[in-house]
Symmetry: C2
Subunit: 320 residues, 2 copies
């Protein structure tokens, strides 16, 4: 019997049952492990199919034909080189995170606009100051780099909260749902001079390395807040820290940084009006997210068994 190895500690009983039933119907047997260390090396070496985000499992799976990752980001998996030849299929769960991460984005925008970092300092010392300038999503101008599932979900929510304009930037500049307008990145400089918030939700690929460069940061107005939920590599962090500390932009909330974990003495921790969270925006504890990744996997398992065109297949050369 052909083996599927499921390495994940966040699956519900329902999730396991759905995977088991689907696998059995198709002539596969599914084995479940909470983490890479728990899974026996023998099992991994035999596995034809993996459901995991752990690059070490992928490295050990010598008979691997297909890996589905419950994450949207695939940079670490691709870096194993396992998928380079094209003989092994990689599919991801892009499309499962729009809901969770876009809520994080809305929270981040509001925390920055309502001065939560400053009020936190004040109340930490039991102060009672009330007159810090506050701002509102309603009537604001939002720009989003990355118009995929996460970007579109964020745009939808900013519009629902009465943002004045929500523009998107992508490689192609192709129009995307929920955006007032989408531009190619060439038009960045001309269209961010008056924005209130810049959201980054792009995957980590060689092409997106320091996409938000020192030069692009210098195009942002002083009032601009930056939110990054994609990958830390997509921002020139040194330039960002300088811009924050010199007051050339108003603040930042970063769920992704470079490297992760961020070292205790890293200057990003203490940059002016900067909030860092430990890569939690797409939290797998949200049942909706997990359910979607499992649905994607089961749907793909049927297609795989039939030899069809896999959904959510990662284009290895593009990196997402």
């Amino acid at each position: 019997m052909k083996k599927c190895l499921i390495i994940a500690d966040f699956l519900s009983d329902e999730n396991r049952k759905m995977i088991n039933t689907t696998a059995e119907q198709l002539g596969y047997s599914a084995f479940f492990y909470d983490d890479y260390h728990q899974s026996a090396d023998g099992d991994i070496a035999d596995a034809e199919i993996l459901y995991t985000a752990d690059y070490r499992a992928v490295q050990k799976a010598q008979k691997l034909k297909w890996c589905h990752t419950p994450y949207a980001g695939v940079d670490k998996l691709i870096s194993t080189g396992v998928f380079d030849s094209g003989d092994v299929i990689l599919t991801n769960s892009s499309g499962a995170y729009g809901r969770a991460i876009s809520e994080y984005i809305i929270m981040a925008a509001l925390m920055l606009m309502k001065q939560m970092p400053e009020y936190r300092k004040i109340t930490d010392e039991r102060g009672w100051v009330q007159d810090l300038p506050s701002r509102s999503i309603s009537g604001s101008r939002i720009a989003v780099i990355g118009t995929g599932d996460i970007g579109r979900n964020a745009a939808k929510r900013f519009k629902a909260l009465s943002a004045e304009t929500v523009i998107g930037f992508s490689r192609s500049g192709r129009q995307a749902d929920h955006f007032d307008h989408t531009y190619s990145l060439d038009a960045f400089e001309d269209n961010v001079r008056d924005i209130d918030v810049l959201v980054m939700c792009v995957p980590g690929t060689p092409e997106t390395d320091k996409l938000l460069s020192a030069e692009r940061i210098s195009c942002l107005p002083e009032k601009a807040f930056l939110i990054n939920v994609g990958r830390g590599t997509t921002v020139d962090q040194d330039a960002l820290i300088e811009a924050l500390n010199e007051g050339r932009i108003a603040g930042a909330m970063l769920d992704v940084v470079m490297p992760e974990p961020l070292p205790a003495d890293h200057p990003l921790w203490t940059a002016r009006n900067c909030i860092v969270t430990p890569h939690i925006a797409g939290d797998m504890s949200l049942p909706y997210t997990v359910d979607r990744t499992v649905e994607f996997f089961c749907e793909n398992l049927k297609i795989y068994a039939e030899g069809g065109q896999m959904l959510h297949r990662v284009e290895i050369s593009a990196g997402y």
Copy 2:
């Protein structure tokens, strides 16, 4: 010439111009002061009309016939006794705060659901923990006590962010826009057993004192978060602190507390998973809010000059 005294430090030049023009057209002269101390006692004693939230100005204004407050809450102004006889009109700016305060409410719900207080503790020590259980507005069950402008604006935003149900509670139980259903407070116990978030946005009046009583807190499920943006008096704080520290509710974000400022040694500061902000949700620095309060005042000035029925008139016995 009849005198209007405007005591406020948040007005724009546009706001002042609008008030000046309106006053002159109606045969009034407007005088502007940044705060109560700056306004000369003589001017206050003469004033027929005040635009102020400062109860001390109201106490000094012996010829006062009408006071318009830029705030929504009127508890302090009413406590002067000046309005008790009914000879002096009090109007407020209820209706100007829905936008700013409902954004605060959404931020608070997300900060609690996404575990910001816990992640803050972790990152303060430069830790990198990622697996705290997180929740989502999408699919959640929200209850709001108070179905006025602020409550309705909050309900609208929760629905826009795909909350499963948003129910309201009010004295009358009359149906209100944006709520799935509105109940009278008698039905509280039966309808909050499975809610994720309880939002309080009720004015401070004798009737609303400890409206959220120990008994009502005990009806909430362990997963419930409390958000209060109305008045601190509307919550039994001792009962709340106990419920938080015993884990009988999941957390709270309070923009209003009792008393304000909250003393440095008050146990609310250190209650479990509790965030206190210094009464900033309706921040006057939001131009939209200020513009609306000035529009309300100018509109009422015309009605006042014509002897008509004032808008936003406070019913002194009800307290709002």
